[in-house]
Amino acid sequence: MSNPENLKIGLEIHLQLKGEKLFCRCSTELSEEVRGSVWRKLRTVSGEMGITDRAAVYEGERNRNFRYEITPNSCLVELDEEPPGRLNPRAMETALLVSLGLHSRIADAIQVMRKIVIDGSNTSGFQRTALISSGGFIESGSGRIGISSVCLEEDSARKVQDGPDSILYSLDRLGMPLLEIATDPDIKTPESAAEVARDIGFLAKEISMLRRGADSIRQDVNMSIGYGRVEIKGVSKISQILEVVRYEIARQIAIGKAVATLKSRIEGEYPPVSSRSLGNLRAISKSKKLADAQNSGMEIRGGKLPGLKGLLRSGDMRLGREIAEVLRAFGIGGMIHSDELPGYGLEQEDLQELSGFFACGADDAFFIIAMPKDRSRSPDGVITDRIRKMASLDLSETRGPTDAGETYFLRPLPGRERMYPETDLPIVVPDPAVIRKLGERTPVGMAKFVSNFANTNNISSQDASTIADKDLITEFGLLKDAAGDARLAVRILLQTIPEMSRKSRRQIDVQTVGELLTLGRNNGWPKYALENAVMVLFNTGRPPEEIAKMEDVKPITGEELRKTIDQLRKDGKVSGNNLIFVLRKSTSRPFDPSEAMSLVANLN
């Protein structure tokens, strides 16, 4: 499928920064420990302009309770029990550097804002966010892409458990510094979107301030093909960007087709859907799914969907799914509709009985749902609103990605009114002198960085690119300093360590490897001995200072090597070109094979 011509894609890249949190001194490192929990309610409140935000009202209507697990890296600030502390200066510096790298105009005065988010993912009911810079561009493989803004935000609480009436969050992630880089909707293809995401992410990698681990990079994808803006939140892998954009294009085109048919059947506004209880219908008891739901105290309701026959699920017509998604968001799972019947234990005759019951005409469909009896709100409005929205072909909303690369309804798009100033913090005025100084460290972008990096260290562009892409720049520097050799560092970093961790099933951090290399180098070991020592490190798991003292890791060279070979020869063990093999069997200490070979040659 080719991409629609009017496809517009914009990205919001979110990058977690490491170190301390944005407004307190808690660490961004996680631990398993949980120190108790508290529970909270959130209430919809009027925004700055007196207008309550759509998305906020939507969440407020859901009326859920939130429980928060307290972790060692959370304090009274995350608990919303103390005003935020001053903005993390390291995070600010990173944001300024990235802004410089994106040619983005840094604000003269920065006001931290509160962005209302009442899905519970922030204990305060808002996310703190600050506009650091606006405008700018990045040169990507697909050309120059405009940057609309660079913001510094608090990350949200991590969802641990979801329930219809309450959600459990962990406070461990809440408050981590999140760099948000938004592009203009200049991107024309899904492939290009993935490329731009990768390029932007790299700018932060250059500064070596990126936190690693799950969730540390997330993208929001904004896109439109003319049916309004859809925002796909939280795409964690770059490859997934491709998938979700492709899926969304197909979805919207299909909706377009279905709506065309619907409009040919029903003129003007879509009529209100009206459901009724199906408690006594014979057909219900025939479906195990429905009967089970009824027995567990749910109410079975259903209603006619005028003009939707064949559009709910048939070929690429999938309006049924659109309706089911919003119902699920309201806590009503599992809609059955007539396009799926026969099925779910219901046979043709049941389909006819139900059609009759709902007085369906030839083009009409119907739906059946199970809902908790105590729900005061009828689902009819939700369904009617959803169909009317589809019919209007303004498909704008917030959607989420699935692991399969599809998308699903999350909530309406938030409005502009959701933000007001964080009153607990003073205005931040970046010092122009400081910015000038930071200019010297402006990130240069992937292509330039890799070529500089390769040249400076005298390593291949291929290796440089891999190191940069895998965000191993710091590690490389560390190993290079320890080993005293860039190529050995590359080898140990990209080959020895990954291979040995796989084999030994031991995770040993680069710091420790570096310590061992330093000890070895201080002992005057040659490269092959250093690499050998790293292998012993993984194989034994002993501390570096112990390994450095082990007899087995000391290289065997010169006179000692000559004597060993001589002895082997005298014992008649060395014959022709089995020298290296025999030597390896006779000593576990490392040696230089070429040195051994030349010694043999000299002895001969």
């Binding site: 508290v38 529970w39 909270r40 309610k41 959130l42 209430r43 919809t44 409140v45 009027s46 700055e48 302009m49 007196g50 207008i51 906020a56 009274l76 608990l79 919303d80 029990e81 103390e82 005003p83 105009r105 604000a107 003269d108 005065a109 920065i110 006001q111 804002m113 509160r114 962005k115 209302i116 009442i118 204990t123 305060s124 009911g125 808002f126 966010t129 600050a130 506009l131 606006s134 405008g135 609309s148 803004s149 913001c151 502009r416 009114e417 959701r418 933000m419 007001y420 100033p421 009153t423 003073p426 205005i427 005025v429």
Partner: protein
């Protein structure tokens, strides 16, 4: 439009290399602040601005000023004095300020209390650090009027000095027909996470139980699931920011509401048949904190023109020996000196150590385990409403539960 920009106008700001559009919010000497279309506020250095243009006039703010009265007959009066609980964002300074315009801030909470009328009245709108004895007197009058009309009273108040005001009301209300509940917020109500909502709901419930208590209702812990009622004259704000900042010192909470249900309400002080207020306070009372560099001159100056000073002494009620001659002089001059303890918990007993005995000898008074701030408020009440020679006996009398008779519930044993 060519007029100069006013707050609320949509404007365009031109500078040498670009233009920014947004709603004009505020300016100070260096910056002009705009709200951008993205919702972000940003500041533009005035030095860089070449021109500004008004694009669109100010939008009228959407008023939503319904009167928060749910009238089902005799019910609860809610009196708002100000404080965070009745605050709105102040766009000028970026701070939070109490407002007289309560809008529909709490209509939801009011309507949740299904079976009772709620009568709302704004009596002042100040931050509680600006509260003073004359305002306490006017609050006392409002409370009396409200009690004459309704079953119980809830008072919205800033948390900073809530214990002082609530204690003053407790003393001035000599008889009362219903419960008076002070409540406030540690998180302002513009936040979805504000504690005010749960506090208000709980306060109205407590106020609708008939008793002779003046109490403070706030969160009992960090969760939004329980609020408690503390006796005003035994309560103190013990944390600057936590929502469970208020603690009842050495005295159990009076009532507890958990998960929306009343767990208990200890009926110790019963309601009276009528409401009697002695609405006079003597403001010439001071509270002074002893510390190692406090000098005789400090104390002397502080006592000048005061009828009574309350000292927060150390331990069982001590100050340095060097201050004793001055205290003796002050007392001879007719100023009462009352000793309390900066330990906050525990009794003042000046018989134990020689310093204490010397202070007693100098004429310093002490009244068991009354809290320092409460002693200070009580002295204002006693001086204004009783004959001068009854001061000591009235101060020693346990009027509103402020002096623990069987003090010292053992409490935390660890």
């Amino acid at each position: 439009m060519t007029r100069s920009p006013e707050v609320g106008d949509r404007i365009s700001v031109m500078y040498h290399d670009g233009e920014i559009q947004g709603i004009f919010l505020t300016e100070d000497q260096d910056f002009l602040f705009l709200k951008l279309d993205s919702g972000y506020n940003t500041g533009i250095s005035k030095k860089r601005i070449e021109a500004t243009k008004v694009l669109q006039g100010k939008k009228e703010e959407i008023e939503n000023n319904e009167k928060v009265v749910v009238d089902r007959g005799k019910g609860i009066s809610v009196l708002s004095t100000g404080g965070t609980i009745s605050s709105r964002v102040d766009y000028a300074t970026g701070g939070v300020k109490p407002s007289r315009k309560m809008d529909s801030l709490y209509s939801e909470e009011m309507s949740k209390v299904h079976d009772i009328s709620v009568h709302f009245k704004v009596v002042s709108s100040i931050l509680s650090e600006n509260m003073s004895p004359d305002l306490w007197v006017s609050v006392a009058g409002e409370v009396r009027n409200a009690l004459d009309r309704d079953k119980g009273v809830v008072v919205f108040h800033g948390t900073d000095t809530m214990s002082y005001t609530a204690s003053a009301i407790a003393f001035m209300l000599e008889e009362q027909t219903g419960t008076v509940v002070f409540t406030g917020a540690q998180r302002s109500p513009d936040r979805p996470s504000s504690d005010s909502y749960v506090n208000i709901e709980g306060s109205i419930k407590f106020a609708s139980i008939q008793s002779g208590e003046v109490g403070i209702c706030m969160h009992s812990g960090l969760s939004d699931d329980s609020v408690n009622l503390l006796r005003a004259v035994r309560s103190r704000k013990m944390h600057s920011s936590r929502r469970d900042a208020f603690k009842s010192m050495e005295y159990p909470e009076i009532g507890l509401i958990s998960s929306g249900k009343q767990v208990y309400f200890r009926q110790e002080r019963k309601a009276s048949e009528r409401n009697v207020v002695r609405n006079r306070l003597e403001p010439a009372v001071g509270l002074i904190f002893f510390n190692p560099t406090l000098s005789p001159e400090d104390v002397d100056q502080f006592a000048e023109n005061r009828k009574c000073i309350v000292i927060m002494g150390t331990g069982l009620g001590h100050v340095a020996q060097r201050l004793i001659p001055t205290l003796r002089e002050i007392i001879r001059g007719g100023t009462r000196v009352v000793m309390s303890t900066q330990c906050i918990s525990g009794i003042v007993d000046m018989n134990v150590y020689s310093t204490g005995r010397d202070l007693l000898d100098a004429g310093v008074l002490h009244f068991g385990n009354i809290l320092p701030e409460v002693a200070y408020v009580k002295a204002m009440y006693v001086l204004a409403n009783y004959p001068d020679d009854e001061f000591e006996i009235r101060m020693a009398e346990n009027m509103r539960g402020e002096i623990l008779g069987r003090n010292h519930e053992v409490g935390n044993l660890e």
